[in-house]
């Protein structure tokens, strides 16, 4: 699936779940994974050290080849968001990332206002995309 279509698909799921009102725990991951596909669509194709990467997977496989201490794919995406898309996108993306990845540790106890905030952060990220 094309990244932008995938992002929109996840955003639609996010809004659908939010409108129901009973699935705040699912609003967060759908918001985060919509954001992930929006930012990856924005960043790629990406050229670094004279080498062009058409997708994140190509970048991760190529850029970190032979690197002893490579980051996780999620952390690598966060780093690209910071370097290529700037502070505003990075801060909102990192907020969603921390909330999504650690939801298990708060027993998926996502308050309605946190779910609404997640949608707001996704909207902010989307508004900053140029493609």
């Amino acid at each position: 699936m094309d990244k932008k279509i995938h992002a929109g698909h996840n955003e639609d799921a996010c809004n659908f779940l939010h409108s129901d009102g009973n699935y705040c725990d699912w609003v967060v991951p759908t918001a985060f994974y919509a954001a992930l596909h929006f930012v990856q669509h924005e960043i790629f194709p990406f050229t670094v050290n004279g080498r062009k990467y058409n997708s994140f997977d190509m970048y991760y496989n190529g850029h970190y080849k032979g690197v002893k201490n490579k980051p996780s794919k999620h952390v690598s995406t966060v780093n690209l968001v910071k370097s290529e898309l700037g502070d505003d996108v990075h801060q909102n993306y990192s907020w969603l990332f921390g909330l999504c990845m650690n939801a298990r540790y708060i027993n998926y106890n996502i308050h309605k206002f946190i779910a609404e905030e997640s949608i707001k952060r996704l909207g902010r990220i989307k508004s900053l995309m140029k493609k």
Binding site: N69, H90, Q91, W95, L99, Y105, N109, F113, I114
Partner: protein
């Protein structure tokens, strides 16, 4: 635990000692089977990396305080000898405070400037409104570092 309870970061090392020992013990289990030849060197590297990470957590917590944001927990996980993850928890009102966004730039700067072949740290932030699941954290390898100040 009161999720709004603040913490005394100056006491982290004292409070941490047993946690670090437990963390090392957990990590070292099966070490020889994993084929690490120079256990002493790896253990030394690991301890250095844990201490560095604690110092970075202190820097991050100080930054929260500068922004008048409270922290109510910090958890550390050894992903590999040269890679650690940190979760910082805050009260829910701090989590939705716009000032929190500034912290992500600060922790990213720590991550970027400290990274090498021998060390990598990754921070993430979530909220703790009293429903933190310590069993889930521990099951995933995260050890709690900060304890509430009494009185």
């Amino acid at each position: 635990m009161d999720s709004n309870q603040d913490f005394n970061i100056d006491r982290i090392e004292d409070l941490l000692k047993s946690d670090v020992d437990e963390m090392l013990l957990a990590y070292e289990t099966g070490w020889s089977e994993r084929g690490i030849e120079d256990i002493r060197q790896a253990e030394s590297r690991l301890k250095t990396n844990i201490n560095n990470t604690i110092n970075y957590i202190k820097e991050a917590v100080s930054h929260f305080r500068k922004l008048d944001l409270k922290v109510n927990g910090a958890y550390i996980k050894i992903e590999r000898v040269n890679s650690l993850s940190v979760i910082i928890t805050v009260p829910v009102e701090s989590f939705i405070d716009e000032k929190l966004l500034q912290v992500y730039s600060f922790t990213h700067s720590i991550e970027r400037h400290s990274r090498s072949d021998d060390y990598r740290v990754s921070f993430s932030i979530t909220y703790n409104d009293g429903s933190i699941n310590n069993d889930a954290l521990l099951a995933d390898g995260f050890f709690g570092l900060m304890k509430p100040v009494n009185g």
